[in-house]
């Protein structure tokens, strides 16, 4: 395991922001870390980076406990904070070069990233837009070719075109065997990028599953336009929320497609719509269920 978190807890005064959370990230995995604002994602990441001390449990990276002064660990990590802030009087170049120089790394990858993200690094940070700062943040996190990337809301401030470029960059990192922990609100990003996800809500982990497992949980929303009696469908295993209105029958289905197709084949169907439940629907379902 690259990241191993066991029973981690963190309090801010009397408020418990992380409550006995556990999850792990394997080598070469893109792991999505999901949750609404204030759920505890950034706090978890800050404990991993050694900015905060935990009040219980353990967090380890490469089987070594995280600490405030573990320089060797940080040398191998690329970190992109959420809502990033750089020294305002430094240029983009200086920000990135500082990250490279502290690690004694070369700038070949920086040049590639600068080209891909199409940014002028001669501008001082105080004159950069949010999107430019985010690009600088991405480059400084990736330029030294780290083995582990910890990215907190990485696509914030990027336009759709640059989001696509960023996805390509991340896929390339993944192909090279890098391990990536990415915290995000943008579920389409997570769906596209991640091998595994962990969902956190009010400081508690409510789900840790591979994307394959998540996809199996995702219902199909089926709508049929037919004059035939569809009441019998209510008794089919995997069908839920069956509603018939104005000759249109709608229901959720989870299970083997052949079963449902066999059930529908004798019917005279005028129209059929089959939609996969979106990630947003799935997460809302989880958050509401757990709440």
């Amino acid at each position: 395991m690259v990241i191993q978190i066991e029973g981690l807890s963190k309090d801010y005064g009397r408020k418990r922001v992380l409550d006995n959370i556990s999850f792990s990230v394997k080598k070469g995995e893109i792991h999505g870390f999901l949750g609404p604002n204030g759920a505890g994602k950034t706090t978890t990441i800050r404990v991993l980076l050694g900015f905060l001390l935990s009040n219980g449990g353990s967090a380890a990276i490469w089987n070594e406990p995280v600490s405030m002064n573990n320089v060797a660990q940080r040398r191998r990590i690329g970190y992109l904070p959420s809502d990033i802030a750089f020294p305002p009087n430094m240029t983009g170049n200086e920000v990135i070069d500082f990250a490279l120089q502290t690690r004694g790394a070369k700038s070949e990858k920086k040049d590639k990233l600068v080209k891909a993200l199409d940014i002028d690094l001669r501008t001082k940070v105080k004159r950069c837009s949010k999107g430019m700062k985010q690009k600088i943040g991405i480059i400084q996190a990736l330029a030294h070719d780290p083995e582990l990337l910890i990215l907190d809301e990485p696509t914030t401030g990027l336009d759709p075109l640059m989001q696509q470029v960023f996805h390509d960059i991340l896929f390339e990192e993944h192909r090279q065997g890098k391990t990536i922990l990415v915290s995000s609100h943008i579920l389409s990003d997570v769906e596209l990028l991640c091998d595994k996800i962990t969902m956190i809500r009010k400081g508690e982990i409510i789900l840790t599953e591979t994307m394959d497992e998540v996809n199996k949980r995702r219902f199909k929303k089926i709508s049929l336009s037919t004059h035939e009696d569809t009441a019998a469908l209510a008794h089919v295993a995997g069908i839920s929320n069956l509603v018939t209105e104005n000759g249109v029958t709608s229901f959720y289905y989870q299970g083997d497609f052949n079963v449902i197709l066999q059930m529908l084949s004798p019917m005279r169907i005028n129209n059929i719509d089959i939609n996969t439940m979106t990630m947003e629907d799935l997460f809302m379902k989880y958050y509401h269920k757990e709440a």
Binding site: L49, G50, L52, N69, R74, I84, P88, T102
Partner: protein
């Protein structure tokens, strides 16, 4: 380590140039306006003689020599410590607290630099900046003395600047130690200025008493270790005025590094 050093030097070089030019100009100006005929100087001395003894004690006894050194003591050295203390506050507050306040600390600490190294290197850069500013003022003063043909005891003046330098390091150490417990830059600036002004006034008050107070009272303020007047008169420095500030500074910086190593960054 060298990356942090380079980054910090780049951050401060402009302000160092400005402060060095200001202090050098100040030193030059004071000598430039020195009343260089005896009648003018005797008027100044006569004026000071009618002032209360406590006032003269505050300015330092060197003024009674009626020399350019005495004039400098009254107009420049008595302010030099305070001016440099303000530079110290403005610079030392940026080492940790301003970074936390502006949230850039997250970027800095995500790099592979130990917190103790960070604080030590940044304090070293502050010390070097102070040295450059004071050396510039010293050279400016020396050059002006030569230009106007006044006598200057280089050793005494060098010791005077060395004394101011180490005392300023001690003030820097104290401000650094306060700063590692704080996260609000503006509040720290206010506290730093208040502490320095209070200590400065306390030192003047102790001098104005013109008595021989207990060592604890005499040396309670860092400014008490600035010994310009007696140094100019006697040409000798009491060695504890050099080593006490150095040890106090080292202790404060070591304590600051120890605290910062365990400080949670809540931003």
């Amino acid at each position: 380590m060298s990356a942090v050093l380079k980054q910090d030097i780049r951050k401060h070089y402009l302000s160092v140039i400005v402060w060095a030019v200001v202090l050098a100009s100040y030193a030059f100006s004071v000598i430039y306006i020195f009343p260089n005929n005896n009648s003018n100087m005797s008027e100044v001395v006569s004026l000071l003689e009618v002032l209360p003894e406590a006032f003269n004690a505050m300015l330092g006894q060197a003024i009674f020599s009626g020399t350019v050194d005495g004039w400098m003591q009254m107009n420049f050295y008595s302010m030099l410590g305070l001016i440099m203390a303000f530079y110290t506050i403005l610079t030392v507050c940026t080492i940790v607290t301003r970074e936390i306040d502006t949230r850039t600390i997250e970027y800095t600490l995500s790099q592979p630099i130990s917190r103790a190294t960070l604080i030590l290197i940044r304090f070293l850069v502050f010390a070097l900046s102070t040295l450059v500013i004071m050396l510039t003022a010293f050279v400016s003063e020396w050059g002006t003395y030569i230009y106007y043909g006044y006598d200057m005891d280089i050793t005494v003046h060098f010791l005077l600047y060395a004394n101011f330098f180490v005392t300023n390091l001690m003030i820097g150490g104290i401000i650094l130690l306060i700063s590692v417990f704080m996260t609000n830059y503006n509040r720290l600036l206010m506290i730093g200025i208040a502490v320095v002004l209070a200590l400065y006034v306390l030192t003047i008050a102790i001098q104005a008493m013109n008595a021989d107070p207990e060592p604890f009272v005499k040396y309670i303020s860092p400014f008490s270790y600035m010994q310009s007047d007696s140094l100019l008169v006697s040409g000798k420095i009491e060695m504890h005025n050099l080593w006490v500030p150095v040890i106090a500074c080292a202790g404060c910086v070591a304590a600051s590094a120890a605290v910062f190593r365990r400080k949670e960054i809540k931003i």
